[in-house]
Point group: C7
Chain length 93, copies 7
């Protein structure tokens, strides 16, 4: 089964704290903590001025996203999230 | 009888939990759970810059949509929904 | 006497439940129930980029509209409604 | 004395119930009842894309307008209203 | 001393009831009563599409403006108001 | 040390009541009293249609600004404010 | 590890009070105190009219930013912030 996000939606697999060995530790006090995740699939982009604006992230990118954005879904046992591109803050390289 | 959605409206038949054998299980805790459905008919798209922007979904597509979007109607005994395209998150292939 | 809607306004005659033999039954639980009606007259459309965008419905169309949109008026004893085009969800054919 | 509305403002003389012999009766239950009036003067229209968009009503038109829109003024003893064009729903012919 | 309004701001001297012999009497019941005033100075207009849109009023115009719009200032003992152009409803000729 | 405002931000030194010998006295009753100040530095303007829209005020201008707009900072002992251009109502000449 | 901000996001290292020897002292009374920081990395800018609008700050700039904007993260032990460009008020030179 394949989930194909529409428009500027992005399908993400959030990483658990154990998986994020990148050195990013999120402060416990922050009200809305950004979270790490891996991009699974991206939409074709939003329609603007008669063409689509391609997204800035691609499948495979490790990203930092706003924790409370998007919708949670469970696909074949995996917990995923569908976010809009604006909820992604940065790529972790 | 035929329902022809206007503009960027989409007519959808929500699938019951038994019908969604796709492996998507929605977490019970999520406040706004996305739901699966089958597209029955789509509008011609929104008017923008002197032409219509065609929708990204078509009749027959299996989609994931936001549960609280749109309007519920009952047509010939079937419970359907009319949603705006933005309430559809992804196509399930 | 003739009512000529302005811009993107549409004049509609809502149908009573007895008149809607189309098979559409609206769920009693829905907070905002779409309603059936017949288009009596339409405006010339909204002004955009130096021209008018014509409306997608025309006099005579049977339509599904959002129940709480628009303004109620009574003309020659008939109860009518003036709605904006966006409050019309679909054409019933 | 002459009142010249600015931009998309319209000067209107609301008609009393006795004057509206047009057959339009407004339901007492409607929260915001549209009201009949006669257009006295109109503005030159709103500035858009380097020109003015002319209004769709003209002095002398009998119109249906939203009751709670606009500002009430009294000129030479007459109770008038200054409305924006969007508050006018239809022309009564 | 000279006050030069910026952009679409307009400097106005509100007229007292005694000064408004124009025949306009504002109803005591109206929540937001339009008020008469004389334009003292106007801004160069708002920047739009690489040029300034000139204002529709000029110094010396007698105008009707919304009572609660704008900011009150006192210049050399005179009570004045700085309003945005949109708060001016009409020119009184 | 030099503070260089970004975009449409303006750095202002608010004047105390003793410094404002201009004759402008602000009414004590006004909820949001405009205040006088001297422009210290201005941004390059907002990006619009592929160029920057230059600001309408320049360093040295004496201006009237909305009291509650902007952010207070203290630089080398001086109390300054960073405001957006829209919070400036007029130039005092 | 490298954090690459997306779009108009900017990665900033906030400076502690001891590090800000610039002479800027923020008033204790201000509800939302601007804060000093050093830009670590910037996004490619927002997509507008078929191109990206480059940001006005660059890595290495010392900036004044709104305290409550953005998201806090901790990278390799350092407390950083990801802000949108609009939350940066000025460059400190």
């Amino acid at each position: 089964m394949h989930i194909k996000p529409l428009g500027k939606n992005v399908l993400i697999k959030p990483l658990t704290e154990k998986e994020t060995k990148s050195g990013i530790l999120l402060p416990a006090s922050a009200k809305e903590k950004p979270q790490e995740g891996k991009v699974i699939a991206v939409g074709e982009g939003k329609w603007e001025n008669d063409k689509r604006v391609p997204l800035s992230v691609k499948a495979g990118d490790k990203v930092l996203f706003k924790q409370y954005g998007g919708e949670e879904i469970k696909v074949d046992g995996e917990e995923l999230k569908i976010l809009e591109e604006e909820d992604i803050l940065a790529i972790i390289e």
